[in-house]
Amino acid sequence: MTHSLRFRDALREAMIEEMDRDDRVFLMGEEVGHYQGAYKVSEGMLAKFGPRRVIDTPIAEAGFAGVGIGAAIVGLRPIVEFMTWNFSAVAFDQILNNAAKMRQMSGGQLDCPIVFRGPNASARQVGSQHSHAMEHFYAHVPGLKVVAPAFPDDAKGLLKSAIRDDNPVLVMESETLYGVKGDVPEGDVLVPLGKARIARQGTHVTIAAYSRMTHVALEAAALLESEGIAAEVIDLRSLRPLDENTLVASVERTHRLVVVHEGWPYGGVGAEVVDRVQRLAFDALAAPILRVATLDVPMPYSANLELACIPQPERVAAAVRRVVGEF
C-alpha cells in the first residue's frame, strides 16, 4: 500500500515513526519547534512529542551540532536539523573532528549515531553564500555517510535507515524538492544506505545524478527520447557509501556515462563516480565520461545567471548528445 506524500511530509513521517519506535530519538535545530520548521518539515512535531524531544536551539550551529554529537556518544539518537546545509559550515569542525572520528579514535568504544539533515545546494536566488552543494565536502570524510534522496519514498526510507544507523549520517535534502509529491509505501519500509536506484531505464547512455539533479536528468532523458536516444537515469541516492555495482552494471549495458550534480566541477562526488567507473568498467566505455556540474564560479544572485550556472536539462542533453553522437 502506498500513499501520496510531499517530500517534506515523507521526511516528517520518517521522523515521527522513528521517534514513536525509539524514545532515544529526538529532533533539535533552529525553528524546528514553535515555528514548525523553517520549511515546515517538522510541522506538528512539537505538539506531538513535546519540548524535551523537539528542541528549538539558538542560532549557533557549532554549539547544537556539538550538543547533538555529545548526546549521541552517551546513548541518544539525535536528529539535528540545519536550516540549510550552508549553515553547517560553522559546525564543520564538530562534524569532521568529532562525529566522524569518535568511533575510530575511541577504538570502537564510542558510537556516534546521529543524523544531520536539512536542505542543500541551490534554492532560488539565495545568493552565493547560501547556495552551496555541501555534500562534496562531507562525502570526502571517512566516518561519515551521506545520502541525497530525490523522491519522497526515498526521503522517508533513507531517513529511517539513517536514524537507525550507528554512524553519523548526513541527509542532503533540497528546498526546491520539499513540495514534490510521490507515492510512499505505508509502514516501516526502509531504503538501505549505499544502494542506487534506476529511475529510468535506457540503453544508449547512463546519466548518474542525485537529489534535485535526478529530476533534471529525467527531464533531459525525456528531451532525448524524442531524438531517439534512450537514456538510463541512475539516482545514486547514497553518495557515501557509493553503489558502484549499479553504476558499473549500467555502464556495461550503455557504454556511456554522463554525471550530473550541483556543486562545482573540481573534485567532488562526480569526480569520484568518474574514477570508479573508469577503473571498474574501463573496457565497457565507448566514450569519455562527461560531467555536468554547476559552473566554476560563486553562485550569482541574478535569476538568469543563476539558471545559467546550475545544470539544466538542455545542458545535460547536450553532454549526452556529445557522448552518444560522437562515439
Partner: protein, 496 residues
C-alpha cells in the same frame, strides 16, 4: 545601437576565413541564431550565426572575400541608424584580432574607433565575460576582457560549455573537422576501450581502421557492420579483408574461423610478398656429404660434456654451449664461405651493390604463429661453441618474444633449416635486402658408391636461393662449392 560584426573563430585553428555566401541581405531583419553567412575555414564550410538581433545595415565583406579573424564583415543595428562612424572605423586598422594578448586599445591616431559609442566587442554572452575595465575615458576597453577559456566561438556555445573543467580532448560538435583525420599521425586508431574490447573478442583487427565517427573514430556500430556483414564493410575497416567473392559464397559454405592478423603475421606477409614479387629468385641445389661433419659434431659434444669442460663452464669459463648442433656448424661454415666468396654476402640497392664487410647471419627461428630471424653478428669471427650458445639464447628469447628489433635486423645472409621437421629439401624466400638464403634439409642416410662399393653414407641437401640482381649463377655455384668443401673437410670449419 549599431555594432560591427567581426569574422568569428569557427574552428579551433582558424585564422582567417573565406566568406563564401551571405544568407542575409542588407536591410534584412536578423534574429538571434539566424544564419547570416557561410564561411569556409581551414577545416570546412561553417555556419556563421547571429548572436544578437537587429537589422543587417551593411555588408562589409563581399562573397568570396578572404577575411582575417576579428576583421569586420557587416554592421548590425536599428533601421535608419547612422553608421558612418562605424563604416569609417571598419575601414581603418582599428581591430586587432581578439585573441591577441596585450593588444593595445585603439590609439588616438584612430579617433573614430576611440569615439565609437558601441562597445561592439564586449561579449553579451555572460559565459565569455570577465572583468570589464571601466576606463577613465569613459569607454570600455575590450582588450581587458580575458578570452574565454573555451576556444569555441560564442555562436557555438549554445548550449554553453559549462566550464573549463568540462573540456575534453575530443572536439565539440560543430568544429567541422569530422571525417578528415583518420588514424592520428602516430598511426594510432581512434577507438574507445569498449570498441577495442569488442574488436578483440570478435577477432577484428582495428589497425588502419577508419570508422564513421569524428576524425575517423571507430564507433561501436562500425563493429556491428563488420561482424554481421563480413567482408565488404570490413574492407573499409581492415585493409586485409578477404576478397569480396568470398563473402558472396559465404552463406553456402561453413564460415572460416577468423583469426586476427598479428603484427608479426602482417610483417611476414608484407616482406615476403615484396621479396617474392620484386626479387628475381633463382635456386641452386647441392648434395653434400656430412658424414665427417656429423662425426666432428659428435666429438665436439662429447668433449663439451666431459667433466673438465663442464667444470670450466661452471667456473665462469664463458658462455660455451653444452652442445653444438649441425646448424651451428653450418652457420660457421657459411660464414667462412661468405668470407671467401664475398659476392654472396651482398645486397642490391638501386644505385649500387653493397658487398658487406661484416658477416651477419640471420637464422630463421619458428615460433608460435610465425617466425623471426635473429642475427648472429660476425659469425666468421666466432667459435662454433660461441655461435651455438648465442643461437640458443636468441632462439629462446625469440620464442618468448623478448628479442629486440635490432637483434632481428641487418643480417647479410640467411639460413633456414627444416631438417628437424623431416624435410629433405626445400627452397626458401630471400629475406631482403639480403642477397641469398640457404635452405637446409635433413641429414639423409643414403647408399653411396665409394671405390666401386655401395656403402652407407650421410647426405644433406642444400638449396641456395639467390637474388639474381646481386648473385649470378656462377657466383652462387662458387659459394656452394666452397661451402661443400668446408663441410666435407670440417676441420676447416673449426680452423675458421
Amino acid at each position: 545601437m549599431a555594432k560591427v560584426l567581426d569574422m568569428p573563430k569557427l574552428s579551433p585553428t582558424m585564422e582567417e576565413g573565406v566568406l563564401s555566401a551571405w544568407h542575409k541581405n542588407a536591410g534584412d531583419e536578423v534574429a538571434v541564431d539566424d544564419l547570416l553567412a557561410e564561411v569556409e575555414t581551414d577545416k570546412a564550410t561553417m555556419e556563421f550565426r547571429a548572436f544578437d538581433k537587429g537589422t543587417l545595415l551593411k555588408i562589409l565583406a563581399k562573397p568570396g572575400a578572404q577575411v582575417k579573424l576579428g576583421q569586420p564583415v557587416a554592421i548590425l543595428g536599428a533601421p535608419g541608424e547612422d553608421i558612418s562612424a562605424l563604416v569609417a572605423q571598419a575601414a581603418g586598422p582599428a581591430f586587432p584580432p581578439p585573441s591577441m594578448p596585450g593588444a593595445r586599445p585603439p590609439t588616438p591616431a584612430a579617433p573614430a574607433a576611440q569615439d565609437a559609442p558601441a562597445p561592439a566587442r564586449v561579449p553579451t554572452d555572460i559565459r565569455a565575460s570577465g572583468v570589464v575595465e571601466r576606463r577613465p575615458g569613459g569607454g570600455i576597453s575590450p582588450e581587458t576582457i580575458p578570452p574565454p577559456e573555451t576556444s569555441a566561438p560564442p555562436a557555438q556555445r549554445d548550449p554553453p560549455v559549462g566550464s573549463v573543467l568540462e573540456r575534453t580532448a575530443f572536439p565539440a560538435p560543430g568544429f567541422g573537422d569530422g571525417g578528415q583525420a583518420g588514424p592520428d599521425a602516430g598511426g594510432r586508431v581512434l577507438a574507445s576501450p569498449y570498441v577495442r574490447k569488442v574488436a578483440r573478442e570478435k577477432g577484428i583487427d582495428l589497425q588502419g581502421a577508419h570508422g564513421s565517427g569524428t576524425g575517423g573514430r571507430v564507433l561501436p556500430t562500425d563493429l556491428d557492420t563488420m561482424s554481421v556483414q563480413g567482408a565488404s564493410p570490413l574492407a573499409r575497416i581492415a585493409p586485409t579483408a578477404p576478397p569480396a567473392g568470398a563473402a558472396a559464397r559465404a552463406p553456402l559454405l561453413e564460415e572460416a574461423e577468423v583469426r586476427a592478423l598479428s603484427p608479426m603475421r602482417r610483417t611476414i606477409a608484407k616482406r615476403l610478398t615484396e621479396s617474392k614479387t620484386t626479387v628475381p629468385h633463382f635456386y641452386l641445389r647441392i648434395d653434400v656429404d656430412v658424414a665427417e661433419l656429423m662425426k666432428l659434431r659428435a666429438d665436439i659434444n662429447a668433449e663439451l660434456a666431459s667433466p673438465a669442460s663442464a667444470g670450466r663452464a661452471a667456473n665462469g669459463g664463458g658462455a660455451e654451449a653444452a652442445k653444438v648442433s649441425l646448424n651451428d656448424l653450418l652457420i660457421k661454415a657459411c660464414a667462412i664461405a661468405l668470407v671467401h666468396v664475398p659476392e654472396c654476402n651482398a645486397s642490391y640497392s638501386p644505385d649500387a651493390i653493397l658487398v658487406h664487410r661484416r658477416v651477419d647471419i640471420s637464422v630463421a627461428v619458428a615460433i608460435p604463429d610465425g617466425l623471426v630471424t635473429p642475427v648472429v653478428r660476425n659469425a666468421d669471427r666466432k667459435s662454433v661453441a660461441a655461435i651455438a650458445s648465442e643461437v640458443r639464447d636468441l632462439a629462446a628469447r625469440a620464442r618468448s618474444r623478448k628479442l629486440k628489433p635490432e637483434e632481428m635486423s641487418d643480417g647479410t645472409f640467411s639460413i633456414s633449416n627444416l631438417g628437424m621437421f623431416g624435410i629433405d629439401e626445400f627452397a626458401a624466400v630471400i629475406n631482403p635486402p639480403e642477397g641469398a638464403i640457404l635452405a637446409v634439409g635433413q641429414v639423409r642416410d643414403v647408399p653411396v658408391v665409394f671405390d666401386g662399393q655401395v656403402v652407407p653414407g650421410k647426405r644433406l641437401a642444400l638449396t641456395l636461393s639467390c637474388d639474381h640482381r646481386v648473385v649470378d649463377g656462377a657466383i652462387g655455384a662458387a659459394f656452394l662449392a666452397e661451402l661443400k668443401r668446408l663441410i666435407e673437410h670440417p676441420l676447416r670449419v673449426l680452423a675458421g
